[in-house]
Amino acid sequence: MALRDRWRKFLSQLIVVLCGGAVLLALLPLALILFYVVTQGFSSLNTAFFTRMPVPIGETGGGMLNSIVGSLIVIGIGALLAIPVGVISGIYASEYRGTRLAAAVRFAADTLNGVPSIVIGVFAYGVAVLPFQHFSAAAGGFALGVMMLPLVMRTTEELLLLVPQTLREGALALGATRARAVFTVVVPAALPGILTGILLAVARVAGETAPLLFTSLNNAFFTTDPRQPISTLTVQVYTYAISPYPDWHRQAWAGALVLVGMVLSCSLLARLATARMERMQRGG
């Protein structure tokens, strides 16, 4: 009996140690990745990276100005497409929560969220490249927009549900129509949260490469024309990473550092905003 109890205690402690070990095991690659990205990235990062165009193979120096601007344009097009559809359908799903359409949208958004980004890319190719016989920044933006859509919709819905019911009822009691109550009372109350959701969606697609490979393609020159193929930071990092030139590898690490910085600062900002919202919710 005593032996059995000792075994049970030992087993319990063993599991605690194993679980702690699992945490350390997961932290190891994170630490390694951040270490390499920061050390390799910083040694290659300079002002030229942000202000200069790429130089031909063999010459050292140059930067990724066109890719940075291209990324901003493609992400901007995506956000422009996804935000209205995502926010308004989120409003529908929260206002008419019990309806069959709301359940269907929720299901569709969750499904869309699980579709691999490369498949979204093939879809965007079929819809936005093939009919025009032309790769374009707009097609890349369309692909990213489709990816952002479910995230924007679901966060909008969830945050609108957090707005106290009394606020909505107060507006209705004063004689406001439903539309008026939603747009002047409920949405403004949830606005910081909705912006956070948009920020998270941007953070998620900012690092996407696969859906851009055959929609916005790449471009060696500077362009801001949405009808033309455009260079993006992620695709450029990929091109440089699989090239055989050490100088391009350095550029790739610098690009990776900028990407990680962009994505992490977006998520960090979103996190701070949600923490503040939670505090407000508890305090109020």
Binding site: Y92, I118, T177, A206, E208
Partner: protein, 314 residues
Amino acid sequence: MKTRSDEILFRAGTGAFAVVIIAIVAAIGWVLYTDSADSIWKFGWQFWQTEIWDPVSGEFGARPFIWGTLYSSLLALLIAAPVALGIAIYVSELSPGWAQRPLVFVTELLAAIPSIVYGLWGIFVLVPFVRRLETGTPEWLKAVPLFSGPPLGLGMLSAALLLAIMVVPFSSSIAREVLRAVPQSQREGAYALGATRWEAIRMALFYARTGIVGAIMLGFGRALGETMAVTMVIGNTPRVSVSLFAPQYTMAAVIANEFAEAADQLHVHALVEIGLVLFVITLVVNGLSRAFIWSLGRQRAPRAAAPQPAAEAA
């Protein structure tokens, strides 16, 4: 009267945007199907049974790709599942209160790093490390098919390891949520009966078993569709092999590599067909895992609603 028509207008207006999302999901299926029709009609099931992929002579057999996708994701799952579960248990059951938030934050950080950055790190850090590992493999072990082949570094082992690293934060954060949904009374009951810490945790795990399976399957779905990181380290060689050292190929990787350069229509349609099947597989895997996670939420409902004999009497 004005309010009534306003109400209808508002509902229809916002509802129309909601329909757009549903339409997009349907359109993905439709576009993938119509753009792969040539390949589907020409090759039929044979497409998935043959192994020769030669765009120049117009021969397309996709078996190596589906094999590579399933094999790499399964291996990643084997590595990632215990680790993810360990993290979830540690964070939700064992860690001191002050450590929880930072731990959650760190796992979220891992999930936020772009796939291309994992790939870059994979090429320059992980692959050389795996190559050293493979070079150091003793000869007698190399006789086993699992470890046969030249030590290239690029190959199945690197891909599986990288995928596992990427999937862990994803699975662990959902498993953590699932464990948090287990009522505290389950654990307290176990403690009251004299259970050790592990025995109480086991009770919670048993209670949440469907949700845990769902969390791990959701990670599997993620691994199936992962593109850039895998493309950069798997070696991109279409062949079916059980060897961990062999360079192989995945469905997502072949689309990423060949789509932009596919010249003739049959090649494009063959690639889209691979995309269509990848779409269907992830749809099924994600649907199943979400059903598992939901069933856990529903399982609690009847228990809460149980003491209602009065309603029946009335």
